[in-house]
Symmetry: C2
Subunit: 290 residues, 2 copies
């Protein structure tokens, strides 16, 4: 039986009037009639004696009435308890988030967390993924949401969220770089737009080394994936970037994914905090809501 059905029964037991109780519950009398019949079938006894004139609670109905009131009361207590446990946390959470993750993964995380803990304030800093661990280590923030570096110091706790695929992108505009990639070419001849540092840089270095085509032709070094996408769109070169950054870029129509360039391991996106911090109530609650 549904709690809704129990509520209808309880109200009907008080009013002893199908029409009025149906109206109270915004259903038709025929619906209420059937709800009561279904309850009677589940209970296995008539709950009410009724004809077209009178409605009276049967003996079984009186017992069921007590049962129904109990369920509804206990349900309310459960709700109170759950809401209280979630609403009681207060304070501030300082979060550092890479721009990449800010696009795709942070919004639902924050939404869920705030739903469960509406009294917790969130201070959000976004920036380069490369700075994430430093910010955590200096305790400038409580935790960071960013890509996991190759080697993660043991002082950190890392909770996996998702894998972020990376791609090589090139310009779609007609330019020298676009002409080059349409022919047989050596990667050492292609101008490369490179991130200053960070996991994307490491990915590029690892990827390029596997090409074994000599020294990379680094055209420029940029800070941030978004800047990288813009440079590529302008025809300055090619670069490695998370697909989600491209999808959310205003210039995504001016870049194209290059195929058959060899595998690039995706980013391991997650939540990262200091080991010593993870038992703090706010941080613990956040991890629990992931």
């Amino acid at each position: 039986m549904e709690l809704k059905s129990l509520r209808m029964f309880v109200d009907l037991s008080k009013s002893l009037h199908f029409g009025k109780t149906a109206e109270l519950h915004h259903v038709s009398p025929s619906t209420l009639s059937r709800v009561i019949q279904r309850l009677e079938h589940e209970v296995g006894s008539a709950l009410l004696h009724r004809d077209n004139r009178t409605v009276v609670l049967s003996e079984a109905g009186k017992q069921f009435y007590q049962f129904a009131e109990q369920q509804l009361e206990q349900w309310q207590l459960l709700q109170l308890s759950l809401n209280q446990k979630q609403a009681e946390l207060q304070g501030k959470l300082h979060i550092y988030c890479s721009v990449t993750a800010a696009y795709s993964h942070l919004p639902p995380l924050l939404e869920r967390f705030r739903q469960q803990h509406p009294l917790v304030e969130i201070m959000l800093t976004t920036g380069d993924a490369a700075d994430a661990l430093e910010q955590v280590e200096k305790q400038a923030v409580d935790f960071a949401i960013a890509a996991k570096p190759e080697q993660l110091s043991r002082i950190f706790t890392f909770e996996h969220l998702a894998k972020i695929p990376l791609s090589v992108i090139a310009p779609t505009m007609v330019c020298r770089v676009q002409q080059q990639i349409q022919q047989d070419f050596s990667w050492s001849e292609i101008p490369i737009i490179l991130p200053e540092h960070g996991p994307a840089r490491k990915r590029f270095e690892y990827w390029y080394r596997k090409k074994q085509q000599g020294k990379a032709n680094i055209y420029a070094t940029v800070s941030g994936h978004e800047a990288l996408v813009s440079m590529v769109a302008l025809g300055c070169g090619v670069g490695i970037v998370p697909q989600v950054v491209v999808e959310n870029s205003p210039v995504k129509d001016r870049v194209q994914y290059l195929a058959d360039v060899g595998e690039i391991a995706p980013f391991d996106l997650g939540v990262c905090c200091l080991n010593q911090s993870k038992e703090q109530p706010l941080i613990k609650a956040f991890f629990a809501s992931i």
Copy 2:
């Protein structure tokens, strides 16, 4: 939420395995997954933390588990209580029932009573309504279902069931009686088929006295309404009889109701027992189930 859903959740909380719990409940894992999701939506919290490898009860889930167990336990207690109250009565009920009431009113009464008290045996005697009170008084039966007499001794308890309309009937066949009733006539000239005794006899006497047309022309006196209907069908005379007897007679097409014959008070059909008997459990239960 359904009790079925609560049972699934409780079992899942113990096994922490969707596949096994689904099998236990004869549903598919996808169904169980959705049942749990619906519960979580109703509760407003995640009840389990799970991925494709591990299933763990959340804090909210632990509280909900207790709530669910409580509901299921209380439901079982309710069922036990309802079943016990109804199944516990045993013994024999001796019932005398007039043939008239046996047609129309006894079957649903017995059906309901047996449903509520399946372990009670019923010994049924049918016969003339006139004998009903005598049988009760001699304690040959526990109670009788029959028409209430004009004067009911104070030693009896009478519970009203229904009113039984009476009618004057005449033959439909072409005969002297049928010709008589189609003309202006004096009732003293019409042959009367009369019950030997009993409430129908009293009704006739009262009815005839109001006609104030002298002495009744009693053709025959019969024992039982059914016999009376047969005699009338044969053209022997007219008589007063409950309509329900006519409706259930094999010769009902050979008799007709006479209109405009003056009012005949209907029988007051009911259950009648000795005052001293009415607190006996079996008799009390029967009265309660009316």
